[in-house]
Every structure is written in C-alpha cells, then in structure tokens.
Symmetry: C2
Subunit: 659 residues, 2 copies
C-alpha cells in the first residue's frame, strides 16, 4: 500500500507551485472585504435590485449567448426507486442568471476546486464523497474506480469479554524512522451562486412533500427520533458535564475526601479541606451561581471572558483539581466525572459523544502523561470516541519561552504518535490510547489572528500533512481524521484552508459570508458540526444562526453541544440542543432524523457501529445508502438530496463540455 | 364573616349600572381597530415619528401647562434597606410626553379602573396587591386597613400520617339553599403610555446593576436556580405527560393487559388486543411518529388541527382509553399516567404543577364521576394542585342538543359544587376532591368567537360570579380562584373581562395590542402564566413572544408548559421551558429565579408551602417580602420592582391631587 502513496506524494509535490499561485490569487480576492462584518459577499447580489435584474436580462439575451444555450441540453436524470413524491424540476434554461461564458468559467473553477479537495483528501486518508468523484471522472472522460475511494478505519468496540486496554494485540514494529518535514499546501476555488436556488428548491420540496415524508416516517415501525442514533460530534472533555453535575461532584468529593491530600499549594501538600479553606470556600455553601462556570450575557462577543469560565468559582486550583488529567491526584476526579457522563450516555443508549482532550505541544512527555491517565483510570466507554485538540496558541508559548520554535511544538505534538505508530510495543499505553483516538481538532478563538497570511506554516496544514504521513504508517490502526474548529469567527481563509485539509469541521458559521466556499462545501458534502447554543453565548444570536439555512441548502450539518458545562441547563445537553433547534427553527421529525444521521456519518464511530446504526449499505450514496428502519429518514428526503446534488454536479459537467 | 360580604354585595349591585355604562364605552373604543392584527394600538405612538415629537413639544409648552407643572412636586420615595445599587431616578418633569390635562385625565381613568378591580377581587375572594390598595386609600384620603386585604386559603399538604382522602374532617352542613341567579358585570378602564418608560428604565437598571445583582446571588449559599421552587402554573392533565412517556405507557399496558376487557366497541366489550386489532395497529410497532400527538408546523395558526392531536394515532378510542377519566376501566390508565408524572415531580423535588381536569357542564353527574375517579385511584400528590377547566363550547353543546339552555350548563357546572360546599357530608367524594381543587379555568380557542359582544352572559363573568358566591359559603375549605385562558388569541375584550374577574390568567399575549390593559395589568400586578413553546406551535413564533418585554416592564410573568405531550421533547418539560426561554431571551439567573418566584406566588400552593418556599414574610410587598435564601432573587431586583411600581402608583396619586 505504501508504494502507491509514495507515488502520489511525488505528483502532489509537482503540482505544488501552480496550486499555490492559484490559491494565493483566490485568497487575495476572498479577503478583500473581510474587515466588514456580516456584509454581503462580493459574489452575492441583493435579491431585490431592479437595476441588476434589468442589466442582467439585457446581458443574457445577446444572440451569441442564445446560440450557446441552444446547443446544450441537460442529461435527463435517472430516478431511483423511492416512494412517489413531487419532484421540483427545472425545465428550460438550466443556468439562468448568468451568461454562458460566466457559467463555463465558473464550472471550470468549481471543477478545479473539487479536484484539489479530492486529491488532498485522498492523500491524507480523509473522505471524499463517491458521487462527486463519479462526476469528476465523467468530466475527465475517465472511468470511476470504486477501489480508489478511501474509507477511514476506526477501532471497533471490543467484543464480549475483550479488554479495551489489552496490549497483546498491538501491531509489531514497522522499522521506519520518523522525522518532521516542511509541510505543503495549495488550493484553488471559484465561485457561483446556486445557493439561493437550492434554498428555494428545498422550500418548494418541503411544501409539496412534507406530508409524504411524514407518511413514510409514520409507517416506519419501532424507530422514531428518540431511538435513532445521534452523536455529539463536537464536545470538549473539560466541559462535557453540565454545571449541576460538576457542582454535585465537588460536594460529593468533599464529603468523602476532605482529609485527602489533593493539591500542591505553593510547594506544600494540602488536603482538600485546606485547599478550600485557602480559597475561603466551603463546598457545602456552593451553588451553581457561585460556581460561575455558565456563559451569560457577559461572554457574548468576549471569548476572553468565556475562557475564564473554565475556572470553577474563578479559582484555577479547582480547575486543576477537577478538570485536568495532570494534577496531584493524577486526574482521578476528572476521569470519574467523564465516566459518569459516559454512564449517562450508555443509559440513554442512543447517544454518543466525541470528547476532545488537549495536547499542547509544550513538551515531549505530554502524550505519555495523557495516555497514562487514560489507561490508569480506564476511561473507556463504548459511547465515547476520543479526539485530540491542539490549541492554536504558539504565540503565547513562544512569548513565555515554553518552546524554542514552532517546529519543536509540532515535534512535541506529532513525533510521539509517529513513534507509537511505528513501534506500538515500545509505548504500550500510548498505543492503547491511540486505538481510541480518532482524530485531531485545532482550537481557539479564531478571531484573534484574523490578520495572519495564508502560509505554509499554518497549523492546520501542518497538522493535515502530519496526519497524512501518520495515516500511511498506521495501517491496521485507527485512521486519524483532521476535524478542526473552523469558521466560528475570524477570517474566512480558515474555511478555505479547511476545504483543502479537513475531513469535516466544527462551527462553519462564516460560510454565511462566502457563497463560493459555501457552495463548494455543499458539492463536496463536508460535514459541519454546528453548536447554535454555544454560538448564542459567544458569537451569534440563536435566531440568526445559519443552521436552518445550511440544512435547507444541502450542507451536511450535525448538532453538537461544544461545552455543556457552560451552555446547557438540562440533564441531557444533546437532547436540549436538538429540542431547542427543533422549536426555534420548527424542524420536522424528518429534519431532526436527517441531522442525527449526518452526525453518525460525520463521527468516528467504527464501520461496524455505523452499519448497525445506519444500515449495512450506509457507504452507498443516496437512498440506496439509507435504511429507514434504522435512521427514520424517509427515502423521499434521501432522493431529494441525492438528485439535487447530482443536478448541481451535472451542471459543472455540462459547463465543461465545450472545453 | 358572611354579613360583611352581604353588605358588599348590595353596594356592588348599586354601582352596577354606572360601571356597565363605562365599560361599554371603553369596550367600544378598544375594539375599534381590532380587526387589524398586530398593529400599533391607538394609544401607542411610533417611537421615531418626528412630526409628533415636534407637535408634542409645542403642545406641551403652553404657559398654562407650565404653570400646572410647577405647582407639583413628587414625593421623595423612601428607600428600603437593600444592598447598594444604582437607582434610575427621573429628575424633573415626571409626566413628560403628555399635557397636564391629559395626565390628570389619564390618572382619573386609571384610578377608576384600579378601584373596580379592587372591588371585584375582594367580592370574589381573589387577590389584589397591598401596595396598590395603599395608594388607592391615600388618593381617597382614607387609611389603609390591612385586615381588609384578602388572601385565599388553599388546603395544606396532609401532615405526617394523615390521609388526604379522609372524610372525617369534612365540615358540617351549613343549612343554606343554593340557586343560580343572573350574573352581573361591569368595568371601567382608561389609558396611558408609561410602558416604554418602564422598558427603558429596566434596561438601564440592568446595565447598571446586573453585576451587583449577580454578586448577591453568588453570595447566597445553598440556593440556585435548580433548587428554587417553580410551579408549572398552566398545564392540562390530559397532556401533562410527554409523547415518549405516553408511548411507553401504551406499550407497557399492552404487555400486561392485552387480554383485559378495556373498551366498549359499538356495544361489544373488547379486549385491548381486539381494540388494537380493530385499529389495524400493534403497539409493538408504535413510535412517537405514528402516535402523532406532537404539534408541528401544520398546527401553526390552526387550532382545529391542534385539537385533533389529542387523539393518539388519530384514534379517539385511544384517547378514551388512555387520557380520559370516564371509560370502560374507570380512567385507571389516565390516573396511573398522572401518578407517574407526579412521581417524576416528587423526585425532581423542586417542581410543582397545577393540572386542569375538565367539567363540561353537559350533565349534573359529571362532578360525581370525576371525584369518584379521583378518590378511587387516589390521584393525590403533594406536588400537584388541581384545577377545573370549563371548555367554552356552549354553542356546540346547544347545537347538538346536549343542554337545553345556557343556564342549565351553568347549573351543571356549579350547582354540585355549591351543594357539596354547603353540606360536605352529603357527597363525601366530591367534598374530598374539592379540598384539592383550587380554581377554575375557562378554555378553548379564543379566536373563534372574536365577534361576540360584551355581555352579562359571558362565561367568564358568570364563572366569577359563581365563584364569588361559592367562596362565601366555603369558609374553612379551599378558596376557588378564577384563572382563565385569556389573551392567547381573539378579542382583547377577553383581557378586559379578565381584568374585572380573574385572579390571574394564562397566556396574555394580546396585552401586546393594548397598552391600556397592559399598564393596568402592571399596576394591579395580575400574574400571567406564559407558555412560549405552546404559542410557538399555535399562535406566535418563539422569538416574537412578548415574554421578555412583559418581564422587563414589570408584568408578573411565570413560565408554564400548557401541553407537554404536544410541545416538549425532553423528560423535564418545565425545565425545557425555562431553558429555552433562558437561551433565546438571554435571561440571567436573577431573571429566571424571579420568574420562578412569580410562579409560586401565582399558584394555589397553600400558605404553609408558600412560607416554606418563599420565606415567612412572602405576603409583604417589596424586598421585605423576599427571602433570598429561599428564592435566590436579589434584594436589589426586589427593590427595583417595588420602587418602580410605587413610582407609577404615586404618579396617579399626583395626577388626582388637584381634584
């Protein structure tokens, strides 16, 4: 297998310069207007602009353009067998609103952008949708080879009686030597404005077929929204419990452990009682209010204030004691809290979560400590799939001299993983831990560095580059997905970079600002874990959240909680997230089940679990890949999505025919 | 005691004609523009209307007006001892925006309206706030007599070992004879526009004191939003379980009782199995979707479709079997479901509910059957306080010849209660049941009859009149409160009628349309149980709900679920209601705890319970009546509310000084 990929790496290096030049050009145009918040992007036209309509009408009907239009006729789509529903067909001019020349130019751009993502995803062992690949091959006149489609491998849940912490089955030493190298990047995009059409099309579909979709769902026995699987695709381990849970845990720990030495206070070992005394606190008096970990009106647009909310009662000592893996008690409390959260999920049965743990890159020993914590406390649950989050705070580390240079930070982050991947037996705990780690996230306030230029040094690209190498070596182990926080705030270039590098992303709010990228995310079906309650406390009021709009346009959205400790009120944060979205956006059962299905697809649940939760053909595209008995998503909805996507991809094919 | 009240009834009758004339005049002006939805009321002025500002400025500064203004000076308010906070003082012109003549006229109107409510409330044994009474007495130059303030009596929870179904302690026969008489009504109102000022004042208060309020709350030990008491002040028993709970119950009942005879199908007794077979259903296949009791987009603005949602799987047979007190199994399942809901509340510990059961007035035996159901199944829980709802569907009953005339319907509704009240031993079950009944609600789609005229025959007035008589006889038993659905839709005259008759109301959305009534509801502190999630499915989108606006202006709002079966998703519907309001309206802990406190005050929890949940001085007005250790409402907020209310009442006093 490695040989094929080495060949690919070569061709990848060759196209680098061309791609970089193109990327920089696109970047320059995309960032031009970025300083203005929430404005209409340059590719968007106000809907009710009579002058533009007039001009366009004139422009569109030149004789030359008419000729070109007549020459074309769209392929008739073939419909799959699903229950009858009213299809929204567009008869006649299939590229209305733009001239034929612009149409062709746009299609060329979109085609190039999609091939770039396809190439990068394949190199980095991330996913690219089969339908898009098929259209790309048709455009190229090549035949589609299903064996080239990549599907990640995630550790299956242990079999009956199997110990998830067993080291016996770790693979043997591969004999490679690992070094960090300069990473590379490139990209390419274009633009178009099919999005409004997609929005209107969905609205019409919904009006016409809502009842038919509901009929399918009602006829579906056993399954409803409550018992279809949903994954919390974006949640930070350090805030995965709700505020009431943390409060209860603190009180309980004090009742049991008051006399236990739990902390090192300025060089002196102190008991829990002494620690609380030094803070002038008694846990008995603590309330959710004094705990003060919940986001409020004060945190809106203030990420700095939000970060302070991680400290219970404003005391970093308590954060250390209860929410850290490394402390005087070896992270015992934190492990216990997480296991309690996991237990609630196991009892709820249909809910899963993908918590993030931090690796900072400050020193080479972090991985050992983290995996030691994981194994020592046996922090395993079938309902949790782990991710590593890497904070984007090199500037702070460098400023405090924690790391000598950026390369060292990257080495701290990735080298131990390479070593454990190459020779698992050499670091058994890390290797065990890595079996449960499914991906990397990069996190922090994106708005902080909005000025920085697009460069080969961007953490994201380096992460992706490292993962790509890592995934080559890690045959037989987990594939690592790159799933960064992206588009929560800050420059839209983050979303451009993620388009090239990420299997899927969290947030994506700023896609609102770039129709180009938004459309590319539709075409390449990049999953987006959205957290409207989190946004509501930090960046964007709930009713203004683009979740509904994205969902209608065919972006693959899932719902996630981000930080239940800070945002949620009830005992079931993920259900709270769904319930509020359903209420505010008036989502139907069908919408909610589709979003739940998206969350399973986006997640790093193993193939075995996905077959069980979505149906054995879940990897197939369109209605064929859906088993309504498991997902409760009607085939009509699946057909609508699939046919709509094919129509959009087919347009690009048409636009490129004359070339 | 009865003597005093008989005197009052006489004077009440005397003022009748004058009041009726005035009420009709106000009604005529209030209804003028009613056909136009959501428009600005005639008393409201667009905020940014430069012409009006200009005209007003000119108008206000006539010499005569200036003279009048100079003559007056507002009493300096006396501040109670609460933590320091920044008060929003209005220095200078205290009645800006109106001429002195208009000001005085408005004050006279408001004074008259308030005295009418005060009188009617006292006659009907409903509540009227002490502060308002004090100002009214000052205006009249009379001294305030606290002994004239009425407080309702609700059955205390049984003592340790006491049986809530014990008939031994029922009062003796009073020896009266009960007859129905023509009911009476009257009313009076005026207008003013202090509401915008109240809104801005609250916003300023919040900006200045938010942190200080939070400081109080954080310093308050043990108590936070989770463990301060909250009452679901408006919930229908037949929809008090959530959809998932009902589904589970149906499945469970089938597993246990498939062979039990449970229904009479066209004259033939059938088992549960046969019943489901006749419906072509097997409970094993049932899902939340096929159950189809949840409101969705289809119910918005369609009350007719909503009512059908009470039938599980669209089958009225299942509604009969599971959600009715009267059926082949004597309402056993319904009783069991309610007891399960009660059990969840008892476990949650801090939540209470006031479910409504129906009395239709179709025949004289309804009360006996209902109380028999209540006693037979021992449907008692310390966390439930019962109410009777009377559907406003006389037109339907009359149309089907169920009742010969309206008087008969009223007799069916009230006569049994009178009889049981007068001679409890004669109908022990009903008397036991009435110990737990605390009030009457009148329900149905208000928009249906929006054309009907203001008349002495309105059900509301008749209800209130009956209750007023009833409460005279029922010394030593529960006081019955009149707490109608009102202002959910339809004519604003409903809100006018409620102002005269209701202790408190549910919904009140349409107060948005009448600043006159809205201001009167502020001044007389009429509690409003709001249900924004219910409104969101039926009448008004969530973000447009006036809850936040009302709360800011000083209306006494509580949160309630209305119909968890149809609107809610989670296991804790009331918490879901609070959580969503907190998220969408960005309520602070302080706001949420204030709303929770309002809900306890509005409720029919007994004096004993209220003392326990709110503090022993809960009947006192302002900060004195608040015990932050129990309510978690900061004294600063209490002082703000109290001083603001006093300021508004004082204005009226000032306006009437020249008279």
């Amino acid at each position: 297998m490695s040989k094929i990929f080495l060949l690919r790496i070569l061709s990848f290096n060759n196209t680098d310069d061309k791609m970089r030049a193109f990327a920089e050009q696109v970047f320059a145009s995309e960032t031009k207007d970025e300083t203005v918040r929430d404005e209409i992007s340059m590719f968007d036209v106000a809907e009710d602009c009579p002058i533009i309509h007039h001009e366009m009408a004139h422009h569109l009907h030149t004789d030359d353009d008419e000729q070109k239009r007549k020459k074309r006729s769209l392929d008739t789509p073939t419909y799959l067998e699903v229950p009858d529903f009213q299809r929204v067909a567009v008869i006649g001019d299939y590229a209305s609103g733009v001239t034929m020349d612009d149409f062709e130019l746009a299609c060329r751009g979109l085609y190039r952008a999609l091939t770039i993502r396809e190439k990068y995803m394949r190199l980095a062992f991330q996913r690219f949708p089969r339908t898009a690949s098929q259209y790309l091959r048709q455009i190229e006149g090549e035949s589609f080879r299903p064996e080239e489609q990549f599907e990640p491998v995630f550790t299956s849940p242990p079999k009956e009686g199997e110990d998830p912490f067993d080291v016996k089955n770790l693979p043997k030493n591969l004999g490679y030597v690992a070094r960090m190298k300069d990473a590379l990047i490139t990209l390419k995009t274009y633009t178009h404005r099919r999005l409004k059409f997609l929005m209107s099309k969905f609205n019409v579909h919904e009006m016409l077929n809502e009842m038919e979709e509901m009929k399918e769902v009602k006829k579906n026995p056993h399954r409803d929204f409550y018992n279809c699987r949903k994954v919390d695709t974006h949640i930070h381990a350090a805030a995965c419990m709700n505020q009431k849970h943390l409060l209860r845990f603190i009180k309980k720990s004090y009742r049991v452990d008051a006399e236990r030495v739990v902390h090192n206070l300025k060089g002196k070992e102190v008991t829990m009682k002494e620690l609380f005394q030094s803070l002038n606190l008694h846990p008995y008096d603590l309330t959710v209010d004094s705990l003060d970990v919940h986001a409020g009106r004060q945190t809106f647009q203030r990420f700095d204030k939000f970060n302070a909310k991680y400290n219970p009662v404003g005391a970093s000592e308590l954060r250390d004691l209860y929410l850290k893996t490394e402390n005087h008690i070896n992270g015992e409390y934190f492990a216990t809290i997480i296991k309690e959260v996991a237990n609630d999920l196991e009892e709820a049965k249909y809910q899963y979560a993908e918590p993030r743990l931090s690796i900072y890159g400050c020193n080479a020993n972090e991985w050992n400590k983290l995996s030691n914590w994981f194994v020592r406390h046996r922090v395993y649950s079938p309902n949790l799939k782990w991710m590593i989050q890497v904070p984007r705070i090199y500037d702070i580390f460098r400023g405090r001299n924690f790391v000598p240079h950026f390369g060292k930070m990257l080495e701290n982050i990735f080298l131990p993983v390479f070593q454990a991947t190459i020779d698992p037996q050499s670091s058994p705990e890390l290797s065990i831990f890595l079996k449960h780690v499914t991906g990397f996230d990069s996190v922090d306030d994106e708005s902080k560095h909005s000025g920085h230029m697009f460069s080969t040094k961007t953490l994201g690209f380096l992460c992706q580059r490292s993962l790509f190498s890592l995934n080559i070596y890690s045959e037989g182990m987990n594939t690592f997905m790159f799933r960064p926080h992206c588009g929560e705030a800050g420059a839209i270039t983050h979303l451009l970079a993620a388009f090239m590098t990420a299997d899927n992303i969290s947030h994506g709010l700023n896609l609102k600002k770039s129709p180009v990228l938004q459309y590319l995310y539709v075409l390449s079906q990049i999953p987006i874990a959205m957290s409207p309650l989190s946004n509501n406390s930090l960046f964007l009021e709930y009713a203004k959240n683009p979740l509904l709009e994205f969902h209608k346009k065919g972006l693959v959205v899932s719902l996630s909680t981000d930080d239940p400790m800070q945002f949620h009120y009830t005992k079931e944060p993920l259900m709270e997230e769904y319930a509020i979205a359903a209420q505010v956006f008036k989502l139907s059962t069908c919408d909610m089940c589709e979003i739940a299905r998206n969350s399973v697809l986006q997640s790093a649940l193993s193939d075995e679990e996905k077959r069980h939760f979505l149906g054995k053909d879940y990897l197939k595209e369109g209605p064929e890949g859906n088993d309504i008995r498991k997902t409760n998503v009607p085939q009509i909805r699946m057909a609508y999505r699939y046919e709509t996507l094919c129509y959009e991809l087919n347009l690009i094919k048409e636009g490129l025919k004359s070339e």
